[in-house]
Symmetry: C2
DNA sequence: ACCTGAACACCGTTCAAGT
DNA sequence: ACCTGAACACCGTTCAAGT
Protein backbone atom coordinates (compact mmCIF):
# COMPACT_ATOMS: atom_id res chain seq x y z
CA UNK A 1 0.00 0.00 0.00
CA UNK A 2 2.74 2.50 -0.82
CA UNK A 3 3.36 4.71 -3.81
CA UNK A 4 3.11 2.72 -7.01
CA UNK A 5 3.94 5.24 -9.75
CA UNK A 6 7.14 7.19 -10.39
CA UNK A 7 10.56 7.02 -8.74
CA UNK A 8 11.50 7.96 -5.20
CA UNK A 9 10.15 11.36 -4.26
CA UNK A 10 12.43 13.83 -2.46
CA UNK A 11 9.69 15.56 -0.49
CA UNK A 12 5.92 15.58 -0.55
CA UNK A 13 4.29 18.19 -2.75
CA UNK A 14 0.82 19.58 -2.76
CA UNK A 15 0.60 18.24 -6.28
CA UNK A 16 1.65 14.78 -5.15
CA UNK A 17 -1.26 14.83 -2.75
CA UNK A 18 -3.65 15.98 -5.43
CA UNK A 19 -2.43 13.32 -7.84
CA UNK A 20 -2.87 10.52 -5.34
CA UNK A 21 -6.26 11.87 -4.35
CA UNK A 22 -7.31 12.01 -7.99
CA UNK A 23 -6.25 8.41 -8.46
CA UNK A 24 -8.27 7.26 -5.47
CA UNK A 25 -11.34 9.16 -6.57
CA UNK A 26 -11.03 7.88 -10.11
CA UNK A 27 -10.93 4.29 -8.95
CA UNK A 28 -13.50 4.16 -6.20
CA UNK A 29 -15.28 7.49 -6.09
CA UNK A 30 -15.08 10.43 -3.69
CA UNK A 31 -16.42 8.47 -0.75
CA UNK A 32 -13.38 6.21 -0.88
CA UNK A 33 -11.05 9.18 -0.56
CA UNK A 34 -9.95 8.90 3.04
CA UNK A 35 -7.24 10.98 4.59
CA UNK A 36 -5.76 7.88 6.11
CA UNK A 37 -5.88 5.79 2.95
CA UNK A 38 -4.37 8.72 1.09
CA UNK A 39 -1.54 8.93 3.57
CA UNK A 40 -0.92 5.21 3.26
CA UNK A 41 -0.85 5.54 -0.51
CA UNK A 42 1.69 8.34 -0.26
CA UNK A 43 3.74 6.64 2.40
CA UNK A 44 3.50 9.55 4.82
CA UNK A 45 1.82 10.35 8.07
CA UNK A 46 -1.79 11.47 7.85
CA UNK A 47 -0.91 14.77 9.35
CA UNK A 48 1.51 15.68 6.59
CA UNK A 49 -1.40 15.86 4.22
CA UNK A 50 -3.05 18.39 6.45
CA UNK A 51 -0.04 20.59 6.20
CA UNK A 52 -0.27 20.62 2.40
CA UNK A 53 -3.98 20.88 1.76
CA UNK A 54 -5.58 22.08 4.97
CA UNK A 55 -8.30 19.47 5.30
CA UNK A 56 -10.35 16.97 3.36
CA UNK A 57 -12.86 19.50 2.17
CA UNK A 58 -10.33 21.87 0.65
CA UNK A 59 -8.51 18.91 -0.81
CA UNK A 60 -11.64 17.98 -2.71
CA UNK A 61 -12.20 21.59 -3.66
CA UNK A 62 -8.71 21.78 -5.13
CA UNK A 63 -9.22 18.51 -6.93
CA UNK A 64 -12.41 19.71 -8.56
CA UNK A 65 -10.81 23.00 -9.43
CA UNK A 66 -7.91 21.31 -11.16
CA UNK A 67 -10.10 18.86 -13.06
CA UNK A 68 -12.40 21.60 -14.26
CA UNK A 69 -9.44 23.66 -15.40
CA UNK A 70 -8.16 20.73 -17.46
CA UNK A 71 -11.44 20.14 -19.25
CA UNK A 72 -10.66 21.86 -22.50
CA UNK A 73 -12.66 24.18 -24.65
CA UNK A 74 -16.07 23.57 -26.15
CA UNK A 75 -16.35 24.39 -29.82
CA UNK A 76 -19.77 24.31 -31.43
CA UNK A 77 -20.34 22.51 -34.70
CA UNK A 78 -23.20 22.46 -37.17
CA UNK A 79 -24.79 24.88 -39.61
CA UNK A 80 -27.91 26.28 -37.99
CA UNK A 81 -27.85 27.92 -34.55
CA UNK A 82 -30.14 25.17 -33.29
CA UNK A 83 -27.70 22.53 -34.45
CA UNK A 84 -24.82 24.40 -32.88
CA UNK A 85 -26.62 24.71 -29.53
CA UNK A 86 -27.32 20.99 -29.56
CA UNK A 87 -23.68 20.31 -30.33
CA UNK A 88 -22.59 22.41 -27.35
CA UNK A 89 -24.95 20.44 -25.14
CA UNK A 90 -23.57 17.15 -26.41
CA UNK A 91 -19.99 18.31 -25.96
CA UNK A 92 -20.74 19.33 -22.40
CA UNK A 93 -22.36 16.01 -21.64
CA UNK A 94 -19.39 14.24 -23.14
CA UNK A 95 -16.98 16.15 -20.90
CA UNK A 96 -19.01 15.29 -17.84
CA UNK A 97 -19.30 11.63 -18.78
CA UNK A 98 -15.55 11.44 -19.29
CA UNK A 99 -15.05 12.33 -15.63
CA UNK A 100 -17.69 10.20 -13.98
CA UNK A 101 -17.29 11.57 -10.47
CA UNK A 102 -16.85 15.17 -11.44
CA UNK A 103 -20.49 16.13 -11.85
CA UNK A 104 -21.48 15.01 -8.41
CA UNK A 105 -18.49 16.72 -6.82
CA UNK A 106 -19.05 19.96 -8.65
CA UNK A 107 -22.70 19.67 -7.82
CA UNK A 108 -22.07 19.18 -4.10
CA UNK A 109 -19.73 22.15 -4.03
CA UNK A 110 -22.02 24.56 -5.78
CA UNK A 111 -19.47 25.23 -8.47
CA UNK A 112 -21.90 24.51 -11.24
CA UNK A 113 -21.93 28.05 -12.55
CA UNK A 114 -18.20 28.34 -12.75
CA UNK A 115 -17.82 24.92 -14.28
CA UNK A 116 -20.13 25.63 -17.17
CA UNK A 117 -18.81 29.02 -17.97
CA UNK A 118 -17.18 27.98 -21.28
CA UNK A 119 -20.30 26.18 -22.42
CA UNK A 120 -22.39 29.10 -21.27
CA UNK A 121 -20.32 31.55 -23.30
CA UNK A 122 -20.78 29.43 -26.38
CA UNK A 123 -24.49 29.17 -25.73
CA UNK A 124 -24.89 32.91 -25.31
CA UNK A 125 -23.26 33.38 -28.66
CA UNK A 126 -25.44 30.84 -30.46
CA UNK A 127 -28.66 31.89 -28.81
CA UNK A 128 -27.93 35.43 -29.88
CA UNK A 129 -27.24 34.25 -33.40
CA UNK A 130 -30.59 32.51 -33.35
CA UNK A 131 -32.23 35.87 -32.79
CA UNK A 132 -33.08 35.72 -29.11
CA UNK A 133 -32.47 38.89 -27.12
CA UNK A 134 -32.47 40.13 -23.54
CA UNK A 135 -34.19 38.11 -20.84
CA UNK A 136 -35.44 35.56 -23.38
CA UNK A 137 -31.89 34.82 -24.43
CA UNK A 138 -30.67 34.48 -20.85
CA UNK A 139 -33.53 32.12 -20.11
CA UNK A 140 -32.69 29.98 -23.11
CA UNK A 141 -29.05 29.68 -22.10
CA UNK A 142 -29.97 28.68 -18.59
CA UNK A 143 -32.63 26.27 -19.74
CA UNK A 144 -30.10 24.37 -21.81
CA UNK A 145 -27.48 24.36 -19.06
CA UNK A 146 -29.94 23.11 -16.45
CA UNK A 147 -31.15 20.53 -18.92
CA UNK A 148 -27.70 19.13 -19.58
CA UNK A 149 -26.48 19.10 -16.01
CA UNK A 150 -29.72 17.66 -14.72
CA UNK A 151 -29.76 14.99 -17.36
CA UNK A 152 -26.23 13.87 -16.62
CA UNK A 153 -26.95 13.78 -12.90
CA UNK A 154 -29.98 11.57 -13.39
CA UNK A 155 -28.20 9.46 -15.94
CA UNK A 156 -25.08 8.94 -13.83
CA UNK A 157 -27.25 7.79 -11.00
CA UNK A 158 -29.10 5.29 -13.14
CA UNK A 159 -25.79 3.71 -14.01
CA UNK A 160 -24.58 3.50 -10.45
CA UNK A 161 -27.63 1.57 -9.28
CA UNK A 162 -28.22 -0.68 -12.26
CA UNK A 163 -30.98 -2.89 -10.90
CA UNK A 164 -33.85 -0.56 -10.17
CA UNK A 165 -35.77 -2.23 -7.40
CA UNK A 166 -38.82 -2.98 -9.46
CA UNK A 167 -37.52 -3.87 -12.89
CA UNK A 168 -38.50 -1.57 -15.69
CA UNK A 169 -40.73 -4.16 -17.25
CA UNK A 170 -42.91 -5.00 -14.31
CA UNK A 171 -43.08 -1.34 -13.33
CA UNK A 172 -44.53 0.06 -16.48
CA UNK A 173 -46.74 -2.49 -18.06
CA UNK A 174 -50.05 -2.46 -16.26
CA UNK A 175 -52.40 0.32 -17.37
CA UNK A 176 -49.81 2.57 -18.91
CA UNK A 177 -49.79 1.68 -22.55
CA UNK A 178 -53.40 1.89 -23.56
CA UNK A 179 -53.86 -0.13 -26.71
CA UNK A 180 -50.37 0.82 -27.85
CA UNK A 181 -48.09 -2.22 -27.75
CA UNK A 182 -45.19 -0.32 -29.31
CA UNK A 183 -45.36 2.21 -26.47
CA UNK A 184 -45.54 -0.58 -23.92
CA UNK A 185 -42.49 -2.22 -25.44
CA UNK A 186 -40.53 1.03 -25.54
CA UNK A 187 -41.30 1.72 -21.90
CA UNK A 188 -40.41 -1.80 -20.82
CA UNK A 189 -37.13 -1.63 -22.69
CA UNK A 190 -35.84 1.17 -20.49
CA UNK A 191 -34.33 4.45 -21.65
CA UNK A 192 -31.55 4.71 -24.21
CA UNK A 193 -29.68 7.65 -22.72
CA UNK A 194 -27.85 8.71 -25.84
CA UNK A 195 -30.99 8.91 -27.96
CA UNK A 196 -33.04 10.36 -25.15
CA UNK A 197 -30.52 13.09 -24.48
CA UNK A 198 -30.28 14.21 -28.07
CA UNK A 199 -34.01 14.11 -28.55
CA UNK A 200 -34.61 16.07 -25.36
CA UNK A 201 -32.13 18.79 -26.12
CA UNK A 202 -33.37 19.10 -29.68
CA UNK A 203 -36.95 19.40 -28.52
CA UNK A 204 -36.04 21.93 -25.87
CA UNK A 205 -34.04 24.05 -28.29
CA UNK A 206 -36.77 23.89 -30.90
CA UNK A 207 -39.28 24.99 -28.31
CA UNK A 208 -37.06 27.79 -27.07
CA UNK A 209 -36.33 29.16 -30.52
CA UNK A 210 -39.90 28.84 -31.75
CA UNK A 211 -41.18 31.42 -29.24
CA UNK A 212 -44.40 31.22 -27.32
CA UNK B 1 -31.63 15.08 24.18
CA UNK B 2 -34.49 12.68 24.88
CA UNK B 3 -37.81 12.14 23.19
CA UNK B 4 -39.66 15.40 22.82
CA UNK B 5 -43.01 14.47 21.27
CA UNK B 6 -45.80 12.29 22.60
CA UNK B 7 -46.27 10.60 25.96
CA UNK B 8 -44.23 7.83 27.50
CA UNK B 9 -43.74 4.97 25.07
CA UNK B 10 -44.22 1.40 26.29
CA UNK B 11 -41.72 -0.18 23.93
CA UNK B 12 -39.75 0.94 20.93
CA UNK B 13 -41.43 0.41 17.58
CA UNK B 14 -40.00 0.33 14.12
CA UNK B 15 -42.29 3.26 13.42
CA UNK B 16 -40.92 5.18 16.36
CA UNK B 17 -37.48 4.79 14.86
CA UNK B 18 -38.68 5.92 11.46
CA UNK B 19 -40.45 8.92 12.96
CA UNK B 20 -37.41 10.08 14.86
CA UNK B 21 -35.22 9.48 11.84
CA UNK B 22 -37.59 11.50 9.69
CA UNK B 23 -37.45 14.35 12.17
CA UNK B 24 -33.67 14.37 12.19
CA UNK B 25 -33.48 14.30 8.41
CA UNK B 26 -36.08 17.03 8.10
CA UNK B 27 -34.12 19.33 10.37
CA UNK B 28 -30.55 18.82 9.33
CA UNK B 29 -30.51 16.58 6.28
CA UNK B 30 -29.59 12.93 5.81
CA UNK B 31 -25.96 13.46 6.72
CA UNK B 32 -27.00 14.45 10.22
CA UNK B 33 -28.86 11.18 10.69
CA UNK B 34 -26.50 9.28 12.93
CA UNK B 35 -27.34 6.01 14.58
CA UNK B 36 -25.99 7.33 17.83
CA UNK B 37 -27.83 10.64 17.70
CA UNK B 38 -30.95 8.76 16.79
CA UNK B 39 -30.56 6.50 19.78
CA UNK B 40 -30.04 9.49 22.03
CA UNK B 41 -33.15 11.11 20.62
CA UNK B 42 -35.15 7.97 21.32
CA UNK B 43 -33.61 7.38 24.71
CA UNK B 44 -32.45 3.88 23.89
CA UNK B 45 -29.22 2.09 23.28
CA UNK B 46 -27.80 2.36 19.80
CA UNK B 47 -28.04 -1.34 19.34
CA UNK B 48 -31.81 -1.41 19.85
CA UNK B 49 -32.19 0.50 16.62
CA UNK B 50 -30.28 -2.20 14.80
CA UNK B 51 -32.75 -4.76 16.00
CA UNK B 52 -35.65 -2.79 14.52
CA UNK B 53 -34.24 -1.58 11.23
CA UNK B 54 -31.19 -3.68 10.44
CA UNK B 55 -28.71 -0.93 9.73
CA UNK B 56 -28.42 2.67 8.68
CA UNK B 57 -28.79 1.96 5.02
CA UNK B 58 -32.05 0.05 5.32
CA UNK B 59 -33.30 2.65 7.75
CA UNK B 60 -32.87 5.29 5.07
CA UNK B 61 -34.40 2.99 2.50
CA UNK B 62 -37.48 2.54 4.66
CA UNK B 63 -37.66 6.26 5.29
CA UNK B 64 -37.63 7.05 1.60
CA UNK B 65 -40.14 4.32 0.91
CA UNK B 66 -42.54 5.71 3.47
CA UNK B 67 -42.17 9.29 2.31
CA UNK B 68 -42.73 8.36 -1.31
CA UNK B 69 -45.82 6.36 -0.38
CA UNK B 70 -47.26 9.40 1.41
CA UNK B 71 -46.76 11.76 -1.48
CA UNK B 72 -50.28 11.76 -2.84
CA UNK B 73 -51.63 11.57 -6.34
CA UNK B 74 -50.83 13.83 -9.23
CA UNK B 75 -53.84 15.12 -11.11
CA UNK B 76 -53.27 17.04 -14.32
CA UNK B 77 -55.03 20.33 -14.94
CA UNK B 78 -55.48 22.49 -18.04
CA UNK B 79 -57.28 22.20 -21.34
CA UNK B 80 -54.77 21.20 -23.98
CA UNK B 81 -52.56 18.12 -23.60
CA UNK B 82 -49.51 20.41 -23.60
CA UNK B 83 -50.93 22.39 -20.71
CA UNK B 84 -51.76 19.20 -18.85
CA UNK B 85 -48.26 17.82 -19.30
CA UNK B 86 -46.78 21.05 -17.98
CA UNK B 87 -49.13 20.88 -15.01
CA UNK B 88 -47.97 17.35 -14.20
CA UNK B 89 -44.38 18.54 -14.34
CA UNK B 90 -45.13 21.41 -12.02
CA UNK B 91 -47.01 19.19 -9.60
CA UNK B 92 -44.10 16.78 -9.52
CA UNK B 93 -41.65 19.58 -8.87
CA UNK B 94 -43.88 20.88 -6.12
CA UNK B 95 -43.94 17.49 -4.43
CA UNK B 96 -40.19 17.26 -4.57
CA UNK B 97 -39.67 20.75 -3.26
CA UNK B 98 -42.01 20.06 -0.36
CA UNK B 99 -39.63 17.35 0.83
CA UNK B 100 -36.29 19.03 0.36
CA UNK B 101 -34.12 16.04 1.16
CA UNK B 102 -36.22 13.49 -0.64
CA UNK B 103 -34.89 14.00 -4.15
CA UNK B 104 -31.30 13.48 -3.18
CA UNK B 105 -32.15 10.39 -1.14
CA UNK B 106 -34.27 8.86 -3.85
CA UNK B 107 -31.58 9.76 -6.31
CA UNK B 108 -28.82 8.08 -4.30
CA UNK B 109 -30.90 4.96 -3.91
CA UNK B 110 -31.79 4.57 -7.55
CA UNK B 111 -35.48 4.62 -6.75
CA UNK B 112 -36.16 7.33 -9.27
CA UNK B 113 -38.25 5.13 -11.54
CA UNK B 114 -40.47 3.87 -8.78
CA UNK B 115 -40.86 7.32 -7.28
CA UNK B 116 -42.16 8.88 -10.44
CA UNK B 117 -44.51 6.13 -11.38
CA UNK B 118 -47.69 8.18 -10.67
CA UNK B 119 -46.42 11.13 -12.62
CA UNK B 120 -45.26 8.82 -15.38
CA UNK B 121 -48.70 7.24 -15.66
CA UNK B 122 -50.28 10.65 -15.99
CA UNK B 123 -47.72 11.64 -18.58
CA UNK B 124 -48.28 8.53 -20.64
CA UNK B 125 -51.95 9.36 -20.74
CA UNK B 126 -51.45 12.96 -21.77
CA UNK B 127 -48.77 12.26 -24.31
CA UNK B 128 -51.05 9.71 -25.89
CA UNK B 129 -53.88 12.24 -25.91
CA UNK B 130 -51.54 14.63 -27.66
CA UNK B 131 -51.23 12.13 -30.49
CA UNK B 132 -47.81 10.63 -29.86
CA UNK B 133 -47.51 6.87 -30.30
CA UNK B 134 -45.05 4.09 -29.72
CA UNK B 135 -41.39 4.86 -29.15
CA UNK B 136 -41.98 8.56 -29.71
CA UNK B 137 -44.48 8.62 -26.86
CA UNK B 138 -42.16 6.74 -24.52
CA UNK B 139 -39.36 9.12 -25.34
CA UNK B 140 -41.53 12.13 -24.62
CA UNK B 141 -42.57 10.76 -21.24
CA UNK B 142 -39.00 10.07 -20.26
CA UNK B 143 -37.78 13.41 -21.55
CA UNK B 144 -40.20 15.23 -19.29
CA UNK B 145 -39.39 13.05 -16.28
CA UNK B 146 -35.65 13.49 -16.71
CA UNK B 147 -36.18 17.18 -17.20
CA UNK B 148 -38.12 17.62 -13.97
CA UNK B 149 -35.91 15.47 -11.79
CA UNK B 150 -32.74 16.95 -13.20
CA UNK B 151 -34.02 20.46 -12.77
CA UNK B 152 -34.96 19.94 -9.16
CA UNK B 153 -31.60 18.34 -8.43
CA UNK B 154 -29.72 21.28 -9.88
CA UNK B 155 -32.06 23.75 -8.26
CA UNK B 156 -31.87 22.18 -4.80
CA UNK B 157 -28.14 22.34 -4.99
CA UNK B 158 -28.09 25.98 -5.91
CA UNK B 159 -30.08 26.70 -2.78
CA UNK B 160 -27.82 24.71 -0.51
CA UNK B 161 -24.71 26.60 -1.57
CA UNK B 162 -26.10 30.11 -1.92
CA UNK B 163 -22.89 32.03 -2.54
CA UNK B 164 -21.47 30.62 -5.73
CA UNK B 165 -17.76 31.15 -5.49
CA UNK B 166 -17.59 33.71 -8.23
CA UNK B 167 -20.72 35.80 -7.89
CA UNK B 168 -23.13 35.62 -10.78
CA UNK B 169 -22.39 39.18 -11.75
CA UNK B 170 -18.66 39.02 -12.08
CA UNK B 171 -18.88 35.61 -13.69
CA UNK B 172 -21.06 36.50 -16.60
CA UNK B 173 -20.38 40.02 -17.61
CA UNK B 174 -17.20 40.07 -19.66
CA UNK B 175 -17.67 39.10 -23.30
CA UNK B 176 -20.95 37.29 -22.89
CA UNK B 177 -23.56 39.86 -23.66
CA UNK B 178 -22.55 41.25 -26.97
CA UNK B 179 -24.17 44.63 -27.42
CA UNK B 180 -27.23 43.43 -25.49
CA UNK B 181 -27.41 45.15 -22.10
CA UNK B 182 -30.75 43.51 -21.29
CA UNK B 183 -29.18 40.09 -21.75
CA UNK B 184 -26.22 41.13 -19.63
CA UNK B 185 -28.53 42.29 -16.88
CA UNK B 186 -30.62 39.12 -17.01
CA UNK B 187 -27.53 36.95 -16.74
CA UNK B 188 -26.10 38.99 -13.89
CA UNK B 189 -29.36 38.80 -11.99
CA UNK B 190 -29.15 35.03 -11.65
CA UNK B 191 -31.86 32.54 -12.51
CA UNK B 192 -35.43 32.79 -11.29
CA UNK B 193 -36.13 29.09 -10.80
CA UNK B 194 -39.89 29.26 -10.93
CA UNK B 195 -39.98 31.11 -14.24
CA UNK B 196 -37.09 29.14 -15.65
CA UNK B 197 -38.70 25.84 -14.82
CA UNK B 198 -42.02 26.67 -16.39
CA UNK B 199 -40.41 28.11 -19.47
CA UNK B 200 -38.15 25.10 -19.86
CA UNK B 201 -40.87 22.53 -19.53
CA UNK B 202 -43.13 24.46 -21.87
CA UNK B 203 -40.40 24.70 -24.47
CA UNK B 204 -39.54 21.04 -24.13
CA UNK B 205 -43.15 19.96 -24.43
CA UNK B 206 -43.74 22.23 -27.41
CA UNK B 207 -40.69 20.78 -29.07
CA UNK B 208 -41.72 17.22 -28.30
CA UNK B 209 -45.24 17.64 -29.58
CA UNK B 210 -44.22 19.58 -32.67
CA UNK B 211 -42.35 16.64 -34.17
CA UNK B 212 -39.00 16.74 -35.84
C1' DA C 1 -39.07 -10.91 21.38
C1' DC C 2 -36.61 -7.08 22.71
C1' DC C 3 -32.88 -4.41 24.90
C1' DT C 4 -28.17 -3.66 26.81
C1' DG C 5 -22.91 -2.39 27.23
C1' DA C 6 -18.50 -3.51 25.63
C1' DA C 7 -15.67 -3.81 21.91
C1' DC C 8 -13.85 -3.40 17.04
C1' DA C 9 -12.42 -1.04 13.13
C1' DC C 10 -12.76 2.88 11.07
C1' DC C 11 -13.18 8.13 10.46
C1' DG C 12 -11.40 13.70 10.40
C1' DT C 13 -8.81 16.78 12.95
C1' DT C 14 -5.69 19.09 16.44
C1' DC C 15 -1.49 19.73 18.78
C1' DA C 16 2.83 19.61 20.73
C1' DA C 17 7.03 18.02 19.38
C1' DG C 18 10.61 16.99 16.35
C1' DT C 19 14.14 18.09 12.26
C1' DA D 1 9.46 24.75 6.14
C1' DC D 2 8.06 20.29 6.62
C1' DC D 3 7.00 15.90 9.00
C1' DT D 4 5.77 12.95 13.01
C1' DG D 5 2.95 10.15 16.72
C1' DA D 6 -0.34 10.58 20.20
C1' DA D 7 -4.75 11.85 21.32
C1' DC D 8 -9.68 13.42 20.84
C1' DA D 9 -14.25 13.05 19.45
C1' DC D 10 -16.85 10.99 16.50
C1' DC D 11 -18.67 7.15 13.32
C1' DG D 12 -21.31 2.11 11.92
C1' DT D 13 -21.61 -2.45 13.30
C1' DT D 14 -21.16 -6.98 15.83
C1' DC D 15 -21.73 -9.90 19.62
C1' DA D 16 -22.45 -12.08 23.79
C1' DA D 17 -25.30 -11.33 27.44
C1' DG D 18 -29.30 -10.06 29.73
C1' DT D 19 -34.76 -9.93 30.55
Amino acid sequence: MSRQTGPARPSLTRDDVLDAAAALVKQHGPRALTMRKLAAELGTAVTSIYWHVGNRESLLDALVERTVADLGAITPGGRTPAQRIVSVARALRRQLRDHPHLVAMVHERGLTERMFQPAAQALVHEVHAAGLRGARAAEAVRAVLFQVVGFVLVERNRERSPAQHPGDQELWDVPAAEHDPALARALARGPQPERLFTASVRALVDGLLAGD
